[in-house]
Assembly symmetry: C2
């Protein structure tokens, strides 16, 4: 079983790295598929599921979580249930085939499967630039608001990660490789990362 | 001017990575050469210079340093003078030719030259193993003492770095690439790092 998890700062290009690694390796690629699967199984709206997972879980802390996430049978909170469901689905995906999973704290959730954990980051300036380049035509968003949004999203990621892991989100010790994409073309750096990943997988045999 | 700085946890194999990168790229390699040069210019013992730089500078803080290192003409403390001398020599080396510089806070000292900053780390178990493998024949040192030594040395590195930089030592944001060598053969991961470094240098043109 070969698993790569990609954790990333918003706007750093982590998703593109994950997708390209999956393509190069012939691995499955899971990103939005996870939330979509939860939504499908529970007949819920995808945006609702994403919102509940990204925000409410963090807000419900420390009510429902200790340092370690526990599946308390009696917990009624929807977010907690969805988080448990997400954990289950991520494990199902990981057991089904070699894969790359982007985000969703998969590095922690799958730790017993010994995944390769990649962290992708960049300077704020570079992340804002990447976000603005990808904004839809006609979408008006200022650099300042984009930077604010990036900070807010990453702070939620950090919070959720902190609930289920002792190693802080973005701390090198939780990852096998941390890659700064500032000023770089994603497609150009993938071969180097791939070489590293392959050496790592070989070392695990 | 192409400069690579290698910062590393003690025993993580950072020096070997630095040496191999220098060999592959045809760059000069500076490590012990810096202390040796200071010793030579001032007719001092190398061990004395190293000790003064590694320990006393940290101890003299915050007496002689603000957040930014300053070359106060009147400062009499030997460590401070040696640190200033080291800064001068590192800059001389960096200006003379393309190079790899291991340790000595060169990432901060050379920041205006825009070096590629690499951070190398590993699990404590892996670092202890690497240190014990390299211990001289007949040298008796326990795993526990080795781990203690590693922690002590890295804590000094962290302290010195903290005196001259706002970004903590080992914090991803201060580096372009952070590489976890746990369980890996250094020579096998160098090609991937090299590919990354080359893309980065190309992006700087």
């Amino acid at each position: 079983m070969k698993i790569i998890t990609v954790s990333r700062e918003f706007g750093s290009g982590g998703r593109e790295i994950g997708k390209r690694l999956a393509d190069e390796l012939g691995f499955a690629y899971y990103d939005k598929e996870i939330v979509a699967e939860i939504a499908k199984r529970h007949a819920l709206d995808e945006n609702y599921v994403r919102g509940a997972l990204d925000k409410s879980v963090a807000q419900s802390y420390p009510l429902h979580f200790g340092r370690t996430f526990s599946y308390s049978a009696g917990v009624s909170n929807t977010s907690v249930k969805l988080f448990a469901e997400q954990t289950k689905i991520i494990r199902e995906f990981a057991e089904a085939r070699d894969c790359v999973i982007v985000g969703r704290a998969a590095d922690v959730i799958l730790s017993e499967y010994k995944p390769f954990n990649l962290f992708v980051y960049a300077s704020m300036e570079s992340k804002v630039k990447r976000c603005l380049e990808r904004a839809e035509q006609g979408e008006e968003i200022s650099e300042r608001d984009t930077a604010k949004m990036i900070k807010r999203i990453d702070s939620e990621r950090k919070k959720i990660h902190g609930m289920i892991s002792d190693t802080p989100w973005g701390d090198r010790r939780g990852y096998h490789l941390c890659v700064n994409t500032t000023g770089l073309e994603i497609k150009e750096i993938v071969p180097g990362i791939l070489q590293y990943v392959n050496v790592w997988f070989d070392s695990q045999k």
